[in-house]
């Protein structure tokens, strides 16, 4: 241990401790801006570029960035003397002087870290006024880049390159005009962006935000000729409460259903229903491949990869197109829901698909892109009309004057609102494969699964290996979350080094609970841990916990689809993948 003094407090810290962490341990909160530490994922962004966290170190010529300066024996630090305060304030004013001051109408207003910092620092005027840097705005199907608001914190760059290994965002230009952008400042939709939205999830300002579809939803709800139905993804119910001041991990399923009904949706359904359906299709496909493999069929492709995550689908279409035949062909739950709603349910209601509007509430930004893909529409009418994020739903609720916190609990509508515990855990890393295991076990062995909790598949480690005993047959399962980790497993498969039967992949750290459309965590990963815990709690509270036990799914097959992987199911519930490795044509 080494002895240091911060603001005259004597403390002992371990060697390698930064001044920022040392200060935090004694209740001194040095302000930061570019710094981001995702504790549970061991991800740190500290380019030491914003210079907001500067402190005075005795004996040192210039000020030191607390986030990137290690403590040394006998170090004396002052975090708020006049020299430090003046510098910090001046630097903040400089940043503000090159930032639009349209806070009142900025989508990030209220959750902007720069705004909070200016408030905390008591900035009331900006002495250093001058030219502002301007860049073109870039709107993609899912993400808006308003980079006039970029403060070069490089968090998005770190997520895109180091964590996701997608490599779309990096700093371009120099000096005053430097900004984070795709190569040659092209638009995102000309890049290999997966729309995972992790850049949006960490952006401290309004430089990166989602494409807002709330107005389209409001208009559809107001249109008397339309029947508007809604589906809600599992991870939304354990995060939405945060937008209304509740603790992270609060389960607000019932309030959310009530709120959606009050918003005017004609039917409030659950993506979890479609998640159960996914398990039947994907699980059957998995079993089919494994059984053939065990019988010695050399043509069968293993491991099978899950395909529920649209960011992940985009990733392999861009980066590993030669492996397009390995993932399951099952559509994601969002798209299965849409396909069933616009056929089976529309028929049931006796209305044309054009008059049925399907809205999905998603923790995800890639879902916005997914529902716009050409293969998911019939005669120009998409299976899912609008995907709105958890954050957008909160805005809708607030605009409708609904006092969310005092809402009573209500239940989803039937038939597409019924779901099992297996579907609920789709929202976390490890959940899809656990749900699949529950059903696959029973179909494969013909036996009843007593203990449904596969604890060996749970956790937050980036890459997990587990073996599930299918009554004597060991099934080897791999799990990865974060696209960089997915890349490692994919590379192993490519190199012939993978012996997994099945792999689950989620693009976002933590899975959908950490999706790009979720309430912002501002670097506090304990929020994600709480959301994950809440999903497993919700699972245990369900009467039914295996997808194939969902009576409405059984009815759907009986009435409409026949059996899993039937021709009709294939047509409505499966898809194919494209080679997107070639750069898109530039149409500027």
């Amino acid at each position: 241990m080494i002895n240091i003094k911060i603001d005259n407090k004597e403390i002992k810290v371990a060697p390698g401790t930064t001044v920022l962490d040392a200060a935090k341990s004694v209740g001194i909160k040095i302000p930061t801006l570019c710094y981001l530490h995702l504790h549970d994922f061991d991800i740190t962004n500290k380019p030491a570029g914003c210079r907001i966290c500067v402190v005075e170190v005795k004996g040192r010529r210039n000020l030191a960035p607390a986030c990137a300066t290690d403590c040394f024996e006998g170090m004396e630090v002052n975090t708020h003397n006049i020299r430090v305060l003046n510098s910090r304030k001046t630097v903040l004013e400089l940043i503000l002087s090159d930032h639009p001051t349209d806070c009142l109408i900025c989508p990030k207003s209220g959750s902007c870290e720069l705004q909070t910092l200016a408030q905390d620092m008591g900035i009331r005027q900006i002495e250093y006024q001058g030219e502002q840097s301007h860049y073109k705005e870039d709107t993609s199907p899912a993400i808006i880049r308003d980079v006039d608001k970029c403060i070069m914190c490089r968090r998005c760059e770190m997520m895109c390159n180091d964590v996701q290994t997608v490599g779309v965002l990096s700093a371009v230009n120099r000096g005053f005009m430097s900004v984070v952008a795709p190569a040659f400042e092209m638009n995102l939709d000309h890049s290999t962006c997966t729309y995972c939205g992790q850049c949006v999830a960490v952006c401290p300002t309004g430089a990166l935000t989602e494409v807002d579809h709330t107005n389209q939803v409001i208009r559809a709800l107001a249109d008397p000729s339309k029947t508007v139905i809604v589906q809600t993804a599992p991870a939304v119910r354990v995060a939405l409460g945060e937008e209304f001041g509740m603790d992270a991990g609060s389960i607000v399923t019932g309030k959310m259903v009530t709120a959606l009904r009050q918003l005017g949706f004609d039917y409030v359904f659950d993506t979890d229903f479609a998640a159960d359906l996914t398990i039947l299709e994907e699980g059957t496909e998995l079993l089919d491949r494994i059984t053939r493999h065990l019988k010695g069929d050399k043509t069968v492709k293993l491991p099978i990869l899950t395909s529920c995550c649209p960011g992940w689908v985009n990733f392999f279409e861009h980066q590993f197109p030669e492996m397009n035949d390995i993932p399951s062909t099952a559509r994601s739950p969002q798209q299965m829901f849409g396909a069933i709603a616009k056929t089976y349910f529309a028929e049931k209601l006796g209305i044309k698909r054009e008059n049925l509007v399907v809205v999905s509430i998603m923790p995800c930004l890639a879902k916005k892109y997914e529902c716009q893909r050409d293969e998911f529409e019939t005669n120009g009418n998409p299976d899912v009309d609008f995907a709105v994020s958890t954050r957008e739903l909160a805005h809708l609720i607030k605009q409708a004057n609904i006092d969310f916190n005092i809402l009573p609990d209500e239940d989803f509508d039937r038939p597409m609102g019924e779901s099992t515990g297996a579907a609920v855990i789709f929202g976390t890393t490890g959940g899809v494969i656990e749900a699949a295991a529950r059903t696959a076990y029973e179909i494969f062995t013909g036996k009843n699964l007593e203990k449904v909790d596969f604890k060996q598949l749970r956790g937050m480690e980036w890459i997990r290996h587990a073996e599930v005993d299918f009554d004597g047959t060991p099934i080897r399962i791999g799990i990865a979350h974060g696209l960089g980790n997915a890349r490692k497993l994919l590379q192993d498969i490519k190199d012939g080094k993978s012996d997994f039967h099945a792999i689950e992949i989620m693009a976002c750290p933590g899975g959908c609970i950490g999706g790009g459309g979720q309430p912002l965590h501002h670097g506090d990963t304990s929020i994600l841990m709480s959301r994950q815990k809440a999903l497993y709690t919700e699972d245990t509270h369900k009467t039914l916990r295996k997808s194939h036990e969902n009576p409405y799914i059984q009815q759907l097959y009986a009435d409409f689809l026949g059996k899993p992987m039937s021709e009709k199911a294939h047509h409505l519930l499966h898809t194919h993948y494209f080679d997107k490795s070639k750069p898109a044509e530039i149409s500027e």
């Binding site: 070069m152 990096s170 120099r174």
Partner: protein, 597 residues
Amino acid sequence: MTQFKMHLLVCGGTGCRASESETLFLSLKKEVSEKGLESEVQVITTGCFGFCEKGPIVKVMPDNTFYTQVKPEDAIEIIAEHVIKGRKVNRLLYVNPETEQHVSDSKHMGFYRKQLRIALRNCGFIDPENIEEYISRDGYAALAKCLTEMTPAQVIEEMKKSGLRGRGGGGFPTGLKWEITSKSQADQKYVVCNADEGDPGAFMDRSILEGDPHSVIEAMAICGYCIGATKGVVYIRAEYPLAVERLKIAMKQASEFGLLGKNIFGTDFEFEIDIRYGAGAFVCGEETALIHSMEGLRGEPTIKPPFPSVSGYLEKPTNVNNVETFANVPVIINKGAAWFASIGSEKSKGTKVFALAGKINNVGLIEVPMGTTLRDIIFEIGGGIKDGKKFKAVQTGGPSGGCLTEKHLDIAIDFDSLTAAGSMMGSGGMIVMDEDDCMVSIAKFYLDFTVEESCGKCAPCRIGNKRLNEMLEKICEGKGTMKDLDLLRNLSYVIKDTSLCGLGQTSPNPVLSTMENFYPEYLAHIVDHKCPSGQCKALLQYVIEAENCVGCTACARNCPVNAISGERKGIHVIDQATCIKCGACLEKCKFNAVFIK
């Protein structure tokens, strides 16, 4: 070389080549051959002589005759008169501006008299494309001595004793740097030569690489031996094609002679050198930015520690030294640390190369012992101020240095004294200003450069320098306020105090030093709305003195914006709102009627 009676050394530096020295070289060769003198007279291209003001240079050896501003057509006369008849061509000799006498040889020229050339020892003496000429001047003897007679620790000790400090600007003790890198444990280490010379007007590294590339190669190998590296990389600006070409030739020759590669001098030491090109970013002279650029990443600095000596190129221990630093190394080994340490000042040993530029008579490259005064450099070596004007200031240390004045002229310059005076050594740029220079504009000129060259990574440098520049612009336009001066000073200190790398930590120096030394000039711009040097166009007013105006209409006819009105033979008037201050009227008026207010 012994079989030749006479050698004609033609400068092949970039400057002289721009003035046709290549054609001159060919003309001389042709003349020599036509006169059948090929076995007696050798004509070679050398590196830069330093006296760029009067290039192209031809030096005749052994009598040291120094011909200046030689044209290709002068070749005939030089051969016919000097070479054959032994009569010097007087009209091509340097003329001492004070005595107006021809100076017959370089040893008696003021430009060279006070110089001591260690790093530049071979520039202008040898053919840089011929390794044998380098070897004939003790080339590779130092490497041989190190490999066969000394342990790495002994070489490092010698370097430490010599007191050599980094010539790239930082002034960090070279021996100590080598020692730290030698102590880092790794399976691979790297020696990097920083040839990303970026200061405007500076060309010492380029001249060394163009004139004596082997000295750098030899020193890098010695460094590799000391720190335990088998690989070296030269990071050089792609805008230095000649230096690159000569370096490549030198590397090839060194490999052919077994001085690079495996088993050098029969030992088991091996060393290879690679070249990486920089795209001309000033910030890539900063060693962490340089390393990122070498790795193919964006050239921007990262926070230290870790220092490159611990984790540098490809995360391996890396020793980065500047070209000039390396050029000193072989001499130190050959002549001994004690000899080197006897030159220079107490804390800065040896010599320093400076690029003299600006309003000075002898523009060029000079090398002087540390501790030489600015007065000696500017008035003795530099030959004083151009056109007999008055000395006003000298900017040292490149764009991040400060402006020193009359009162600093007798400072014995070294790393520490320049810093104490509010400037810095930098890599050795030295720009002289005279009474016509506006110091606010000068500060703005340097800020223009740093704004352009900031990498954009840290906020104070990215935005702060831009704001400094905008405020200086405002002052130059006469729109500044006294409050701006407070803001300017505060912002300068904050940028210095909070920036990530050396670029931002020094970029406000020109502002602070001009505010310190030329405060009244700032006041004149702000309070009186006047530019005392008449440089700030926005503050000038061209007016016509009615008494002198004869109504010749010359001014009105030549005004590009029709700002001047008046009848023929009547008094003319300039409309200040339309006037763009181009000065055409002043130039055309034959009656001294137009003047600047």
